[in-house]
Amino acid sequence: MATLNNKETAFLNLMEVHKGIIHKISKMYMDTPEDQQDLFQEIIYQLWRSYDSFNSQSKFSTWMYRVALNTAVVFFRKENKKISSIPELPEHIAVEESPSVLKELQLAHFYKAVQKLDNIEKALIFYHLENYSHKEIAANLGISEGNTRVKLNRAKTKLKALIKQQGYEF
């Protein structure tokens, strides 16, 4: 029992450090706060269930991204749920706004656009933003490096077009 508690505490401590990135994955894959919370919880559950398979020789974040994205890719949103309203994006922002406000606006446009991509494209964009090389992305997705390059370029072009459609310069 004490061992389980120690293991759980160690796991929760790790999650405390990495919860932000899991939340970001949830926001990429789900559009409503309720679905994002459901996905967040499901990822934590799947990580906990697979925790024994984590080999401390490898990097925790790499292992975590795999489990988190594998979960997000096949995640089913709740059926027959009332669709809650998605917050509208601000239409205009003054040039003199602070950099943090500007970044928030950019992120709001990014999340709204990325949610419209295919699930695999979302994973590609995620790994790209986490500075993974084509080789690393290919290994994590289980596809060839050439295929990764082609698919990532397509996903980036699609994302750019979607952000432009929202009236934001990209």
């Binding site: 405390e16 932000g20 919880q41 499901e42 709740k78 990014f110």
Partner: protein, 203 residues
Amino acid sequence: MNFDELQSAWNSDEGKGAVLPETLQRLKSAHMPVTKLRKNMRKEFIMLVIIFSLMGFFPLLSIQGVPTIPFYAMYTALIMLTVFHLTKFYRFYQRLHANTLSSKDNLYEVYYDIKLNIEMYKSFNYSIIPLIMLYLVMIVLDLDHFTTTPVTPHKKMVIIISFVITFIVAVIVVIVLVEWWVSYAYGKYLRQVGKLLDELREA
């Protein structure tokens, strides 16, 4: 905005609003395709167990034309089949998924797991058909025993043909219903994972 700016915005996002559960013991999987599929199948099996338990009392109603011995022979075989399939489902239910594999391997594993569960479900439903046939054969063989008036060869032939036609119609209805129900209730999970595998194919 360009991708460098997006990268900078992404790095600055700390993922505010993430709340960890207080305890991990109460966490349950609820939104994964295999979990949903098994949850639905579990509900159906519970219903079946209730129906089969009630079925055991059927001959006690003393309805004419329900011979007791063939009925209980079929009933025992039905219970054995159900126990066999329930055990198989339970074993699969306990199996852990290696979701630490690459996305493609993980998707293949999920895909074939769903397919396997669906095929097991179908095989369970179809395995009932020979039992019904056996039950009907037992009734036909023992026809004289269940009727008060002697059965003429002509009448016996008419009864046998009626049984064969009823059996063929019942088999067709069972197959159509099972295929429709599986496609309607469980096929969507298979289609969703199949679509994801398509997305991973070489460009």
